[in-house]
Symmetry: C2
Subunit: 345 residues, 2 copies
């Protein structure tokens, strides 16, 4: 039995308590500063008000103010904050951790810099550690909705990080017959693959919105959705190469694209834009929800534009991303640049 | 204006008459030996009894017995037979063609040989040509259902073949604002990508059947479908590398997987197997339909087994394909080998 402390009581971290608890571990779930009410209710009857599922009786719950106690004696720390909590994790949690205890993150996303560099969160956190720190940071990617995991629907994800031996040990803590895990040392490849998919899920879902808007026109509209899916895979593969990730990680990008187009907020944003709403109308309609797809698509487009300015890529090689960005940030009207998808390869 | 003769009046060849005719070409549609009744009805009122759409008034229709007249003066021949008509095309059509007129094929599939070699149809047809023939054979791949194309839903496909200059000319005949075409010289890559997707669409659709069987259990089951989608992309990428196709073609494999899981017979076979039916029960239920996914999955599995026997690959690297094959050909009971998906990469 090991002791695992999950920090951030969001949906995904909370869903991960299922395989961990069922594997016999001591599981501690710590709320972020925004999660006090979530923790209050969990302490009452184990019901998670956002995940909408009842966690196993036996999980230990902690509020943010009790985080030191939750970390005490842990064998593994899981970072479960959303991409909006990345700096909080860097500033408030990393400094209080025992550097010999590995961290694994389920936060999906990435940062961009003025020169077009894209950076994964594990890389960002590593850059915030004091010089000489031995802290190792691992990460989780791949297609996995929190509710399906909590419901024991078979799920297939990837874990990545600096040491294969540690990855094997971490997998042994999490893996069950319904939660299967491939391992890779290619952090940049896996993390970028699954970050990119958010913006492209939004892009692919445009076709779903266009089909809904067309209404009962007797057309299936499968081709247009597949066309955007295919262009998404192409652009993600090109982006993977740009950031230096292995092309094999396209499996995670495509798998995660599949599940995100099927369910989730990125789909909803794309669908509403596809129906012809402006981004302001979409934001109004989804008020109060975290819209990571918008952030990721914007960051990725910004990085591509910076790289194009430096002569390293061509904006015209990313017509779908550029149109999504124009919809999100430039007040553009929906007008998929279909013929720009035509390439010679 | 050019003259284009499509041979085989199946759904896809017939759907291709829409962009061709709208681009102002003379379009001739020739039935295979099985299409006499289809042609009779088309001559009456342009209605295609399998496509369930009315073709443009102005298409010229020919029965198989009139094929010589249809070929006369054509600038391009389109092979539109199903994979069950590949030998008929080789034996009865290729020999009567003017070798200076290019052929482009929409037939998806491939052949396997005892040593594990997989061969695309263009390669097979080339091997049947008399020595010294200058006949060029091009091919069409990518996610495109015939009905959506006929309905002008935006569609994005790939054309491949031996000469880029000719590919540009062929694209100029077909391309419209709703039918966009990328070009590649990588025939093996594109053709294998879109052939492989049939068997994997069947494999991915198993999850849809399992979800249907589970009924109204309150679980979305998006994770399990994405897990199979992701494993499919992984195995297809590995197979692409084995046959020597460029990895960029995974975009077509993934795009075509997306549309085939959404609609079509491969989906139906997988869905029924996923609900727990035996392959015999599935065949009985789908009596009279051409089931290319079954053929392709069987051929691919046979090739992998032969390659494994020769020590060139490991069967265990293709757990989904092997299970699909076991369901189709070895009387196995549905039991997705989830944990076998776990790999180190």
């Amino acid at each position: 039995m090991s002791t695992i402390t999950l920090i951030g009581a969001g949906q995904m971290a909370s869903a991960l308590t299922f395989p961990l608890y069922e594997n016999g571990h001591e599981v501690r779930l710590v709320g972020s500063p925004l999660d006090d009410q979530v923790i209050d209710r969990l302490r009452e009857d184990n019901y998670h008000v956002n995940l909408l599922r009842t966690l196993h009786d036996g999980i230990h719950y902690y509020k943010e103010s009790e985080k030191e106690a939750a970390i005490q004696g842990a064998d593994l720390i899981v970072c479960g904050v959303s991409s909006f909590g990345v700096d909080w994790f860097a500033d408030k949690i990393l400094p209080i951790l025992d550097e010999s205890v590995p961290v694994i993150s389920v936060t999906k996303g990435m940062l961009d810099y003025e020169d077009g560099t894209m950076q994964t969160y594990p890389e960002y956190w590593m850059s915030k550690l004091p010089e000489g720190s031995k802290q190792e940071i691992y990460a989780i990617g791949g297609p996995c909705t929190a509710r399906d995991l909590a419901d024991h629907d078979p799920s297939f994800v990837g874990y990545c990080g600096p040491k294969m031996e540690t990855l094997h040990w971490i997998r042994s803590l999490f893996a069950t017959d319904y939660y299967v895990i491939s391992l890779t040392l290619d952090v940049v490849g896996l993390e970028c693959a699954v970050a990119l998919k958010n913006g492209y899920a939004l892009g692919t879902a445009l076709a779903i919105g266009m089909a809904e808007k067309a209404g009962d026109d007797g057309i299936n509209h499968n081709n247009s959705e597949a066309a955007l899916f295919q262009e998404s895979v192409k652009e993600m593969l090109d982006l993977l190469k740009i950031v230096g990730g292995g092309v094999d990680n396209i499996m995670y990008a495509a798998g995660d694209l599949n599940v995100t187009v099927a369910a989730g907020r990125s789909r909803t944003v794309g669908l509403l834009l596809g129906k012809g709403l402006s981004i302001d109308e979409v934001m109004e309609q989804l008020k109060g929800q975290t819209l990571e797809a918008v952030v990721i698509a914007t960051r990725t487009a910004r990085a591509v534009k910076a790289l194009a300015k430096a002569g390293k890529v061509k904006e015209s090689d990313f017509p779908l991303l550029m149109h999504v960005n124009a919809l999100l940030n430039e007040g553009a009207t929906l007008n998929i640049p279909w013929t720009d998808f035509q390439k010679e390869m």
